[in-house]
Subunit: 260 residues, 2 copies
């Protein structure tokens, strides 16, 4: 690539979260960075878009020593990508990166993840895209050990592009230093689910309400999954598609007697 690549950065933890601040620093060593990110935490927003409300998207200075253009958006991560590419940037970016998420987006978490939905939205628009997550939910998480891997994967994608209709879901294990991480593994999404436990409470007026919480249940014993890679201290890279057609199921269902 002869010109300096244009990189759009977003996330779902909000524009001031340590994860995105770290990602911005890394991307700034690679290309020209523009940030369009949510003005507040948007975890668990999946592929939500804002249809029934106004969308605000204002220039903002988060880091007064930085010259990077940043925009704070009232919408979801997917809104940020749409408004970033259609309204803010003058040309299509060479790369969209989302994250670094505070917490895992491996396995079935990809469905609920605003971080990954932002990457998928960019993929739908034909932009090479990567979602990065660190397996540490804490706002005090240490993102430094991620640096080497994030940069390497971003550079590979910039150099090689991605197969059509594909984005990358990258998850990084917790480590004290990057040398504690064994390397990068390309894998498939583990079959898993959340076993919900609703915490039922009553408000001061006596009306019942619930907090959603739950336990992650891995239903997959395969050695080629993202969960397995992460448990063995590898960075997991899963290529993700947005053609949701269950092609293997087509044949079965075509035999059904729908029209008889």
């Amino acid at each position: 690539m002869s010109r300096r690549p244009l990189i759009l950065v977003t996330n779902d933890d909000g524009i001031t979260a340590p994860g995105i601040r770290h990602l911005i620093q890394i991307m700034n060593t690679i290309g020209d960075v523009v940030v369009v990110a949510p003005d507040r935490p948007q975890s668990g927003m999946g592929h939500a878009i804002t249809l029934n409300e106004n969308l605000y998207c204002d220039p903002v200075v988060v880091d007064q020593y930085s010259e990077i253009e940043e925009f704070s958006c009232s919408g979801t991560p997917v809104d940020c990508v749409k408004i970033g590419t259609q309204q803010i940037l003058e040309r299509q970016p060479d790369l969209l990166v989302s994250g670094i998420n505070h917490g895992s987006n491996a396995s079935i978490n990809v469905m609920y993840s605003g971080t990954m939905s932002a990457a998928v939205e960019a993929g739908i628009e034909g932009i090479p895209a990567i979602g990065f997550s660190l397996l540490d939910y804490s706002m005090e998480a240490d993102f430094k050990p991620c640096t080497k891997f994030v940069k390497r994967i971003a550079l590979e994608v910039l150099e090689k592009g991605l197969p059509p209709h594909t984005v990358l879901n990258v998850n990084i294990p917790i480590a004290e230093k990057s040398s504690d991480i064994k390397g990068i593994k390309v894998c498939r999404q583990a079959k898993a689910r959340w076993q919900e436990v609703f915490d039922k409470r009553s408000n001061p007026q006596g009306r019942d309400y619930y907090w959603l919480s739950g336990e992650f249940v891995n239903q997959d014993e395969g050695k080629d999954t993202d969960i397995e890679a992460l448990e063995n201290n590898y960075v997991s890279v899963v290529p993700i598609q947005f053609d949701l057609t269950a092609h293997t199921a087509l044949e079965t269902i075509e035999k059904w007697n729908f029209n008889g």
Copy 2:
């Protein structure tokens, strides 16, 4: 099935929307129905879940002549499924149906659709699930021509089950009467995207805001897609999976020099 099937009904247009009221009537002719649906419109919510707010889920009477149990939930369609299966129902339902959505969820719309995300969530929990949508966004849409097809597909799924890790995305063309619809076609998701057009306005204080709107762009000339079926006046049935791994891309990316 010897016992009467237990059917959980939800949607994303809200519990009072004509589409879900019609779906409840149809399901009531097939089995024992329980409704857990959002207390307000939740279109475009994708697979969002409520993590940072209380969830309310109260018994409600929408139709005073009906004896069907109904619950109105403050959360998203996916929240409705989680709370319905884990908190409201005493046993796992035999079927989850979502809809009938006011408007298309064919092709790439499946990504943004709360209706379909509810079905996918049930699928993750191992429950046979179907999302139904009518290609008419109007709140005055006529759902009667859908009846025959909705019932037929639901009965087939109850009888045969679904292939593992699969749910159905059913879209129904607009028709004056059901005989105007040619039949049911099993198809794949058409490759398509939305070309966004942001409508930029200023509020009375002079701050810019945007409305998200756009134009659907079909990028797929295949004859086996849902868009093609609907344009030819067929009901489209697409089996949908939630393993997002792009299996065909795995091999390409495994050859990359990540660890060199």
